[in-house]
């Protein structure tokens, strides 16, 4: 797999002495070309800090970030292949949306009025293009941010919380749009979000980041396949709970009990119950959502980490 982004043991520390904060700790990660990659994590986990280091806005305290094999701190020109919006769209409030895009295009040295018009149309801002940015709604600001990220037709697009402020149809459009960027145009998309349902639907791979560390990383399917949530209806229920309780965290309900186990354990669990002379009426494997998985992982990391 060709690597679009490689984090080599990067760390970022803010402040000194007692006020020192380790925002990102020893992150090593590869993101392949053409993937849609999601950073997941609670607020303050280190997602935006990691993204900012990719864009040279922050200098890593340790380690380096490679974009298409080049150290971004040393070879700034590699960022010409990257477009990004970071932590909410911020533009000059007194300029129109169009003028803001013109300023950015000129700053980067690739001013093309046709491209700007086409992008404004693509993000549905043509009618408001000449109005001041300060008069835009949050959703419009986000869409202008997306247009700015796509301004120079980059190979990689970094989107920090791209659906913030969008209405449900806007979120749906953004989701489709991001998938198309990867599927039809071969772009690499790196996004951060706390909307887990959205990430589950868009991303090929995800990394869960908590307290500055990557605690899980892999394909969405791969992460969710590992563990299953089982609902078991058996009698007598208290005896069944006692048999399985030695090995699993069992939650008894009125007529059934639930527990988390590896999918491969399911046949053994059934055999164990039958061997103990327990009547098994139903074993249902409930597919875990990314949200449930995320919350369980974060809780586990917070408890044991």
């Amino acid at each position: 797999m060709e690597s679009a982004v490689r984090f080599e043991n990067i760390s970022k520390t803010f402040g000194r002495g007692k006020k020192q904060v380790h925002a990102v700790k020893n992150v090593t990660l590869d993101i392949g070309v053409g993937q849609v990659f999601g950073f997941l994590g609670p607020n303050g986990a280190g997602k935006t800090t990691t993204i900012r280091m990719m864009l040279t806005l922050l200098r890593p305290t340790q380690g380096r970030v490679l974009l298409y094999g080049k150290d971004v701190q040393r070879e700034h020109d590699i960022l010409k292949r990257v477009g990004a919006t970071v932590e909410g769209a911020a533009f000059y409030p007194y300029l129109s949306g169009q003028a803001n895009l013109e300023v950015l295009a000129r700053t980067a040295g690739h001013y093309n009025p046709q491209r700007i018009r086409a992008l404004l149309e693509q993000v549905d801002l043509t009618e408001r293009a000449r109005q001041r940015f300060s008069s835009y709604s949050l959703g419009m600001k986000q869409r202008l941010g997306l247009a700015a990220a796509l301004l120079h037709d980059p190979d990689m697009i970094i989107l920090d919380e791209p659906t913030n402020g969008l209405d449900p149809s806007g979120i749906q459009e953004m989701r489709t749009f991001i998938r198309e960027l990867a599927d039809k145009h071969g772009k690499t998309v790196v996004l951060s979000s706390h909307l887990l349902n959205e990430v589950e639907q868009i991303c090929d791979r995800v990394a869960i980041i908590n307290k500055g560390e990557i605690i899980r990383e892999g394909t969405v399917k791969g992460l969710l396949e590992g563990k299953a949530k089982l609902r078991i209806e058996a009698a007598p229920l208290d005896k069944a709970a006692a048999v399985l309780g030695a090995r699993y965290a069992v939650t008894p309900n009125s007529h059934s009990m639930t527990l988390e186990a590896e999918r491969g354990d399911v046949p053994r669990i059934i055999r164990q119950l039958i061997a103990a002379d327990i009547e098994v009426y139903e074993v249902v494997s409930q597919k875990q959502s990314l949200e449930e998985y995320f919350l369980a992982v974060i809780q586990e990391n917070t408890t044991h980490g």
């Binding site: 900012r52 806005l57 990257v82 911020a90 533009f91 007194y94 300029l95 300023v103 980067a108």
Partner: protein
């Protein structure tokens, strides 16, 4: 680089209030004053007589005088405010995060200084042209001769003097801008940049007071007061004195001690070092800075 300059120009002129009140205010003031003088000339014979009594005002002298209009406390404060908006505004609007991935940090900062210089030069030249035109109209109305005639000798001499005066004013504004720009990198805030820049520019004068205290209270050698001669304030005054009087700016700082004026070349060099130093300081502060807003 032309493209980057156009970007800087577009975003700065787009802030109409800032550019209107802090840059175009100088030519606008010249227009206002000229209109006022014309109206008074038209309405008042006494004023026309007064102008006749004053005698002809040579256009070249008037034009050179007007260049130094910006070079005073109020003018410098206005330029400080404009610089604060140009540099600290990027922090306040959160726009550095759009710019830094698109260009290296050094050209981004240098282009701000270049754009600033262009704004100041355009404003000064517009101011002096408008002021001279106003003088020409009022002189005509009062029946005063408006000269001298534009001969190659007069033009050559005028151009040299004008450019030198322009350089002095530009240097003074650049020093003020340098303070505000460096302050912007530290405070990351328009008001903070303005205040710290203002305090730093005031600091020049306090050097003289500080050395006076050191000399009188701590009984340090009187030469300690020569430190003042390394401030931009002294050197700008010294260059102006050389241009106007053909002699340097001398200042009696103690009963038995006067500052020996530097040569004009030495002062020009010191000013150049200050400007380069302040730009370098701004670059140094920005180059390794974490952009967190």
């Amino acid at each position: 680089m032309v493209s980057l300059f156009r970007a800087e120009w577009q975003k700065t002129t787009g802030n109409r209030w800032a550019v209107g009140l802090l840059i175009w205010i100088f030519p606008a003031a010249a227009i206002g004053m000229s209109i006022l003088a014309i109206v008074i000339s038209a309405l008042s014979s006494d004023y026309r007589e007064y102008l006749q009594m004053l005698g002809p005002i040579p256009w070249n002298t008037r034009m050179i005088e007007t260049v130094s209009f910006m070079n005073n406390e109020v003018g410098r404060l206005i330029i400080l405010a404009f610089t604060a908006i140009m540099f600290a505004g990027e922090y306040q609007y959160g726009t550095w995060k759009n710019l830094v991935p698109r260009r290296r940090r050094v050209p981004l900062i240098l282009m701000k200084f270049i754009a600033l210089a262009v704004f100041v030069v355009v404003s000064i030249i517009a101011f002096s042209i408008i002021a001279v035109m106003g003088t020409w109209i009022t002189s005509s109305m009062a029946g005063i001769e408006f000269g001298p005639a534009l001969t190659p000798e007069i033009a050559g001499e005028f151009l040299g003097d004008y450019l030198l005066q322009l350089l002095i004013t530009l240097s003074a504004t650049f020093i003020a801008s340098g303070y505000a720009a460096a302050a912007a990198m530290i405070t990351r805030n328009i008001l903070g940049s303005l205040l710290v820049g203002f305090i730093l520019s005031l600091g020049e004068t306090t050097v003289l007071i500080l050395t006076l205290i050191l000399y009188n209270v701590l009984k340090l050698p009187v030469q300690i007061m020569s430190l003042y001669q390394f401030t931009p304030g002294y050197n700008l005054a010294n260059i102006s004195a050389w241009v106007k009087n053909g002699a340097g700016f001398s200042y009696r700082v103690a009963v038995d001690y006067s500052l020996q004026p530097f040569s004009m070349e030495a002062s020009l060099l010191i000013i150049a070092l200050w400007i380069v130093g302040l730009i370098a300081l701004t670059l140094f502060l920005f180059r390794r800075q974490d952009i967190t807003s």
